[in-house]
């Protein structure tokens, strides 16, 4: 059977204007990769919004998914937190198994 290895899946939902800063921070924290997903809309303490309601880049958000070796988690969370702390957004971490750990 294919062997899998334990890892962490970090999902960060953040405002589009901060995307570049976040991914730079992630790279600085030593992650080997990440994936950015589009977001259609959402709701939170700062209210409800939807992609179609945006004239401005300001409004939108993106979801950044980053799968990492467990030992990297703390550095990543520190880096991510520095970027999001003054901003709206959500950070969640899930345990996962991955194939091809050597790639991470």
């Amino acid at each position: 059977m294919i062997e899998t290895s334990d890892a962490k899946r970090v999902e960060i939902i953040i405002e589009s204007p901060m995307e570049q800063r976040l991914t730079d921070a992630l790279n600085a924290a030593g992650v080997t990769g990440y994936t950015v997903l589009p977001v259609l809309g959402g709701s939170g303490r700062s209210g409800r919004w939807s992609r179609e309601g945006q004239v401005s880049r300001a409004g939108g958000m993106v979801a950044v998914i980053c799968i990492i070796r467990e030992e990297l988690l703390e550095d990543l969370l520190d880096a991510a937190f520095k970027v999001v702390k003054r901003h709206i957004g959500v950070v969640s971490v899930t345990d996962c198994q991955i194939l091809r750990i050597e790639r991470f």
Partner: protein
């Protein structure tokens, strides 16, 4: 005098442009699911910037570049720097906004709304009033400086700790709409009327129709904003959203007179000063002043000032400019 204003306003209010904006506004206030795909809206705004920048460049290449361009550009930059300070003062008097919120709002009023500018040019055109082609370059120039003033107003004394590193200023001064507007302007300047002839039937004839659809979308967005965040608009804020454009237009008027712009050019500079940004500045504020509440500046700029300029402001500025001009 007054009846000319009213006449113009009436004519303006019954133009397809305004009516489609109203349609969008009504549709979203009624919670219709009518919506323009984001990609289509972005494509239309690219088309408008492309067309207006290019036509401006061509008309300059026609009449030749004169000192007016440089002077007016500098004047525009100064207006963009100064108007936020004026707006900030008014906000402190008229509203109870926190300093950060007030600074963020003020920044929007120093910068410009390109769609308002486009609507103004199309009114001038249907009135057959000529204007300095380089006003589009001035429009581009006025987008960003207000952001510096806003940050200074927000962080006087202590310096903001984050977001405003090198990358930030590149984002501001090389943001897509500035680059496309200036770029198309320069290309129009280089290729001149001969180049225009090639692409005229793309950027001239369909222009007004595209603008109608774009204003429909603006109406939908403005309506959505009013519906979801209208409650934020305390009377003081609403009043500010109507008074500030008038104040701004007066600044623009005075500067135009000092520069000796044509009536058309004066009207456009007034419109630029009166209009409030809802693209470049909000994005910058989210990065550099995340504590400022976006619902306030977006709703105010899109839900109050934009419709005001579109319906009442533009004919008013036109009357003032022509009254003085002729």
């Amino acid at each position: 005098m007054l009846d000319t204003i009213l006449g113009l306003a009436a004519a303006n209010l019954l133009s397809p442009l305004i009516l489609f904006f109203v349609l969008g506004l009504v549709a979203s206030l009624l919670r219709s699911d009518l919506s323009i795909p984001e990609a289509a809206a972005k494509a239309m705004s690219i088309y408008l910037l492309f067309a207006i920048g290019y036509k401006g460049g061509v008309s300059v290449s026609d009449h030749g570049v004169d000192g007016g361009l440089v002077l007016t550009l500098v004047a525009g930059l100064l207006l963009s720097f100064i108007l936020p300070v004026v707006a900030f003062g008014l906000l402190k008097v008229m509203t109870g906004l926190s300093r950060v919120d007030a600074a963020a709002v003020a920044g929007h009023y120093g910068s410009i709304s390109i769609v308002t500018f486009v609507a103004a040019t199309s009114v001038l055109q249907s009135q057959g009033i000529a204007t300095e082609g380089y006003m589009v370059a001035v429009a581009a120039g006025m987008e960003a400086p207000a952001i510096l003033s806003a940050l200074w107003l927000a962080t006087r004394g202590q310096t903001s700790d984050q977001g405003t590193e090198g990358g930030f200023w590149r984002e501001i001064f090389l943001n897509g709409s500035i680059v496309l507007l200036i770029g198309s302007f320069v290309i129009g300047l280089i290729t001149g009327p001969k180049g225009l002839a090639d692409i005229e039937s793309f950027i001239v004839s369909p222009f007004k129709g595209v603008l109608c659809l774009f204003l429909l979308d603006m109406g939908l967005v403005a309506g959505r904003g009013l519906r979801t965040s209208g409650n934020i608009l305390r009377p003081g804020l609403v009043l500010f959203g109507v008074v500030m454009p008038l104040v701004g237009s007066v600044f623009g008027f005075v500067v135009a007179v000092l520069l000796g712009l044509s009536p058309g050019g004066a009207m456009l500079l007034m419109t630029l000063s009166a209009s409030a940004s809802y693209i470049a500045v909000p994005a910058a504020m989210r990065v550099a002043l995340p504590e400022a509440n976006p619902s306030i500046y977006l709703t105010l700029s899109l839900g109050i000032t934009f419709p005001f300029n579109l319906t009442i402001g533009i004919p008013l500025y036109l009357t003032m400019a022509t009254a003085w001009g002729g």
